[in-house]
């Protein structure tokens, strides 16, 4: 499901930049236009900016899961994340320092998170090619790395822990050694 919606979002992205279908993009800031177009078609899955309407989410927000973010200094923060919300969005709503340079349009790797428990990692749908392309370039990649914008809160992820990669701290996930770029 996630993979499907991700692809839908990508499709939307391509459409947003395709000729003849670009009247929306042309009328607004290119960046905002692409993001809002994706938001529109991909529902909340790509949202990281604030222009998603809260009404989109209100029906989904009744159920929430608990997610713990571990920041660069090792500080932990437990947050409640509504079902359907991306971890990038959840981080931003809770003042967690997770970058989102491309605002969830799968064009950067700055919202890289590390799922600290392999069991939770295995519950996620496999990343699509486009996410893997970005993970290739992620700083401090591990075997349980994902992009925060692609990890969507769902009931089975309740209790998940996500660590932000750090330049000064190494993660030992299954003995994987982070590569430098």
């Amino acid at each position: 499901m996630l993979a499907r919606v991700s692809r839908l979002g990508l499709h939307a992205l391509r459409r947003a930049t395709a000729p003849g279908q670009n009247s929306l993009a042309s009328r607004r800031h290119e960046a905002e236009a692409v993001t809002s177009h994706v938001n529109h078609l991909g529902k909340t899955f790509f949202c990281s900016n604030t222009n998603a309407t809260s009404s989109d989410r209100s029906s989904e927000s009744e159920a929430k899961i608990s997610v713990t973010f571990v920041d660069k200094d090792g500080e932990e923060k437990l947050v409640k994340v509504p079902i359907g919300m991306s971890m990038l969005e959840a981080a931003h709503e809770n003042d967690i320092e997770l970058e989102g340079a491309c605002e969830g349009s799968l064009a950067c790797s700055t919202c890289h998170v590390i799922v600290t428990d392999v069991d939770y990692y295995n519950k996620l749908e496999d990343p699509v090619d486009e996410e893997n392309d970005m993970l290739d370039l992620a700083f401090g990649l591990t075997e349980t790395s994902r992009l925060g914008c692609q990890v969507i809160a769902s009931p089975e992820l309740d209790g998940m822990r996500l660590a932000l990669p750090s330049a000064t701290r190494n993660f030992a996930v299954d003995g994987y050694v982070a590569k430098s770029h």
Binding site: N22, H29, T35
Partner: protein, 501 residues
């Protein structure tokens, strides 16, 4: 700041000098914090490295007052003039950079050139901290005969041209006298320029590509693009995203020689050790199979040429324009250092006919007066961002001087690489601040922003503040709207400076 009546020249100048009085009052507030004087920081260069540095600096130090200078009237460096026009999603990061620029403790001074309008020693006298983030604005050269021939450009020049960089708007590459272009290099920039040459212009028309470039591409007769690499598909320097994109271009037939895909044990070792190499190699292998035996009915052609290095350029009949590139076949040899494979010539040569050559073999940083510079590596000698007096072992630290981005680590990596690069440099600055390195005797207090404004005024430099850029930005967007483009870039210095006023 709307003006209702014409201002006298002097008043206009004053307006330009003090574009956002609010910023000044708030900086006074920062100065009034009981702890200490503001930390005066100047970042030179407003690309990703510069803006991420400003961002981390503002977040990491409550008293930091950050001024960003840039030689162009426009901010964002290569996000504006490097990122390909058909990659709008990569440019979304400017939203974040604009929020940094809107911070009360941050100011942008465009149209201010380090080394011309203000010297490095002046900046160091004026600011507690100077962070150089001005990147790499020149090119490596091949150093082979014929490199100056007409029809040979660096990829950087070509990229700046189609992206409307005011220094390259007059490049006028000839796209109408040949059907073949050779791109030397197989990194992402090489793939970008090849893609722009091959992509349907109807698709490019909906991007922010410069209008003159779109016109030139519409009239282009180039049907074949050769991407030439010294090494093999395992060593190609591109990333999977860019490769996947060019392999999937509409109406383009991809040629990859199957023999080139044969791997040796050393290649397999490289693939095992690098996720990105494995994925790039897989994409190339799949594309070779997918396009095999297919008819390329009139499609444009993209040829991957592996294991070839350029040895000289040969002129066409007119004697001055490039007509072919002489290539030497190579094979891979272990260089003895960490198992890296290097290309060595085999003494076997062939000519590849073409009328346009784009050299995509790497950017090069340039030094400014008074800056230690490692000419061999093309970077400023540094330790985690602290500038060192030389590259020798007994080098000393240059107090208050730091470096970030391409000038620090060489011209590689993506936008996000600069995030971590900036984090490292800023961590070092904050460490030095904690050590009290910026607490000089009270009679030597740095003037910061006030000092910079004095220098600019003395030299009569008309800088472009961030709201000047916002005027350019909105003008470009309005012009783009008429053409169904996200923006129509202003591409000359004159237009840019006029729009900023």
């Amino acid at each position: 700041m709307g003006r209702v009546r014409p201002l006298h020249h002097a008043a206009r100048r004053l307006l330009l000098l003090f574009p956002r009085p609010r910023a000044f009052s708030s900086s006074a507030a920062a100065a009034a914090t009981p702890s200490r004087e503001p930390l005066h920081v100047c970042v030179v260069g407003s690309g990703p490295a510069g803006f991420y540095t400003a961002d981390k600096m503002l977040k990491g130090h409550e008293g930091a007052q950050v001024d960003i200078i840039d030689r162009l009237p426009t901010p964002f460096g290569l996000v504006r003039s490097g990122v390909a026009p058909d990659h709008p999603e990569t440019k979304i990061v400017v939203n974040q950079f604009s929020r940094v620029a809107a911070n009360d403790r941050c100011q942008f001074y465009g149209n201010v050139t380090l080394g011309r309008d203000v010297s490095l020693s002046e900046l160091r006298k004026t600011y507690d901290v100077v962070v150089l983030a001005y990147g790499a604005e020149s090119d490596r050269s091949l150093g082979i005969p014929g490199e100056d021939m007409r029809g040979i450009h660096s990829a950087r020049e070509f990229v700046w041209w189609y992206n409307g960089h005011p220094d390259m708007c007059n490049l006028a590459p000839d796209l109408q006298s040949t059907d073949s272009a050779v791109v030397l290099g197989q990194g992402n920039v090489a793939l970008d320029v090849a893609r722009i040459l091959l992509r349907c212009t109807s698709e490019l028309a909906a991007t922010d590509i410069a209008d003159y470039a779109l016109d030139a591409l519409r009239g282009s007769t180039i049907r074949k693009v050769y991407l030439v690499g010294r090494r093999g598909p395992v060593q190609a320097a591109c990333t999977a995203k860019e490769l996947r994109e060019i392999l999937g271009l509409k109406n383009v037939h991809v040629f990859i020689k199957e023999a080139d895909l044969v791997t040796l044990p050393a290649d397999e070792e490289e693939i095992r050790n690098s996720r990105i190499k494995r994925r790039v190699y897989e994409l190339l292998s799949k594309a070779a199979i997918a396009h095999k035996g297919k008819n390329n009915n009139g499609q444009k052609e993209l040829h991957f040429v592996f294991f070839r290095r350029p040895t000289r350029f040969l002129p066409s009949e007119d004697g001055v324009t490039v007509g072919a590139v002489q290539l030497e076949k190579t094979c891979l040899k272990d260089d003895g250092v960490a198992g890296k494979q290097v290309a060595v010539g085999t003494g076997e040569f062939e000519d590849l006919k073409c009328g346009l050559v784009l050299k995509s073999i790497g950017y090069k940083s340039l030094p400014v007066e008074g800056l230690p510079f490692d000419k061999y590596r093309g970077i400023v000698p540094n330790l985690k961002g602290r500038v060192l007096s030389s590259e020798s072992e007994n080098a000393t630290v240059e107090p208050g001087l730091y470096v970030v981005g391409w000038l620090k680590r060489g011209p590689t990596g993506i936008v996000a690489t600069n995030l971590h690069c900036a984090e490292e440099t800023v961590a070092i600055i904050l460490e030095d601040d904690k050590k009290g390195l910026f607490m000089g005797p009270s009679d030597s207090k740095k003037q910061g922003r006030r000092g910079l404004l004095e220098i600019l005024e003395q030299k009569n430099i008309r800088f472009v503040p961030f709201d000047g850029w916002e005027k350019i930005d909105s003008k470009e967007k309005v012009a783009g709207e008429l053409k169904n483009k996200p923006r129509e870039k202003l591409t000359t210095w004159n237009e840019l400076l006029m729009a900023a006023n």
